[in-house]
Subunit: 256 residues, 2 copies
């Protein structure tokens, strides 16, 4: 860092300090992390490399399965999540984000353990729901079994914006087991074609039960479901978190 080969003013340390370095706690799954990074890049106003937001990423996919842990059929991911978070802090991260909805069941525990500011993916997605709201008050949710069963979205919505009353249209057990869970596993295994078929069926079922907007509340889902395949507006939690990250980093950037 104290190299004498060049002046300090051109070193990455100082340049990066003009931005805030964001840590991305990823790997859940790895392709969802790639999708998230792609969206961060796409949402950054830039002409050159140097305009882009500095990020460090831990994509260490050996984190135990979040849904299995919630159901009590697998070990807790908390230790692994905190370990990845510490790696990011060691690497210089000043803010942590997690492109995985279900991992947010451990959000408070992780934040307590790390002591670093974090953005919450559900807050980012809900901001897009409020923006699109109007007549879209019946919100369908496509998410993992754990995200749905835990009430992660409804509870966060009730806490952060109690004035907005939303009606949640949740997947039935059948829809979860037949379509949504297999679709998520399919994306993780690299098979997006069948996943896409399943997710369209699940979306149609939510719309038939009254959903006038659907939240893609699992970061695997936007890899296999497109707006043009669904008759109501889709809110993409991954995209919402990416935009919030860019906004944070731009604010943290001191005037040059």
């Amino acid at each position: 860092m104290s190299s004498d080969r060049e002046s300090g003013s051109s070193g990455e340390g100082e340049a990066a300090a003009q931005f805030g370095i964001v840590g991305i706690l990823g790997g859940m799954g790895p392709l969802a992390t790639v999708d998230f990074m792609r969206k961060v890049v796409a949402h950054t106003p830039s002409r050159t490399d140097q305009d882009h937001v500095p990020v460090v990423i831990a994509s260490i996919p050996q984190i135990p399965d979040r849904t299995a842990a919630f159901k009590g059929t697998g070990p807790s991911p908390l230790e692994a999540l905190v370990c990845s978070g510490r790696r990011l802090i060691e690497a210089g991260a000043e803010l942590i984000v997690m492109p995985c909805n279900t991992a947010h069941l451990w959000y408070s525990d992780i934040q307590r353990a790390l002591g670093t500011p974090m953005l919450h993916i559900v807050d980012a997605a809900l901001a897009d729901v409020w923006k699109a709201k109007g007549r879209h008050t019946r919100v369908g949710l496509l998410a993992t079994e754990a995200t749905v069963a835990s009430g992660l979205y409804e509870q966060r919505a009730a806490v952060t914006a109690e004035r907005h009353q939303l009606e949640w249209i949740l997947p039935t057990d059948f829809e979860m087991q037949a379509w949504i869970a297999p679709a998520i596993l399919g994306v993780k295994a690299g098979d997006t074609a069948e996943a896409s078929n399943y997710l369209v069926q699940a979306s149609n079922a939510l719309v038939e039960r009254g959903a006038s907007l659907i939240v893609m509340g699992c970061t695997e889902i936007p890899l296999a479901l497109q707006q043009r395949e669904v008759g109501v507006p889709l809110v993409d939690a991954t995209d919402a978190l990416a935009r919030r990250l860019v906004k944070w980093a731009m604010k943290a950037r001191a005037p040059v």
Copy 2:
């Protein structure tokens, strides 16, 4: 790390130790890093998240421009590259790779400063050239001005495989200024459509001068050039390095 919430056997620290953690020194540019990560995921045999290779990534794009530094019109990127490398080591990386060809002009300096094993992107690309070789002995090179002018590819080929005699078809000054350099800047600025037009013209010019195979020796280029657009085989250095990374991580993985 010594949490008592779960048994150590399920912690990410130990699980990850079954693999080797790879550090990706990226951000040059950010979209090329995303493309590289996507290729790493695609080349990993996997059914679940946990099968994937653990990686940590520094995408801190404030690294000074490599070509400007080589031409003496901008500061050296070395300090910034080493700083990003140190972040990755702090985060647990046991091997470093750089998805940027031009940055390999500083490869030896970086390796000396970090003392960590690294894979060389040109070695990975050349292995694909040898594999495709046969009648393909006249190799066209699409790369930055600095990669071309420094002789990075020819020198590495001469050192690492002196028995293989290759003839290199390099871009002319006109082709570099009119097509290749603007295409690379175009990708960095998010404009891949015009970049694609330029790169097809540059490829055609190399083929007309006798190239029977073309190496995409800049990690922006595969984002804007497809095999179907070119009449000779394309070697993608990004893809070659991704495959080499996966191979290294799989070998480093202890039998479970």
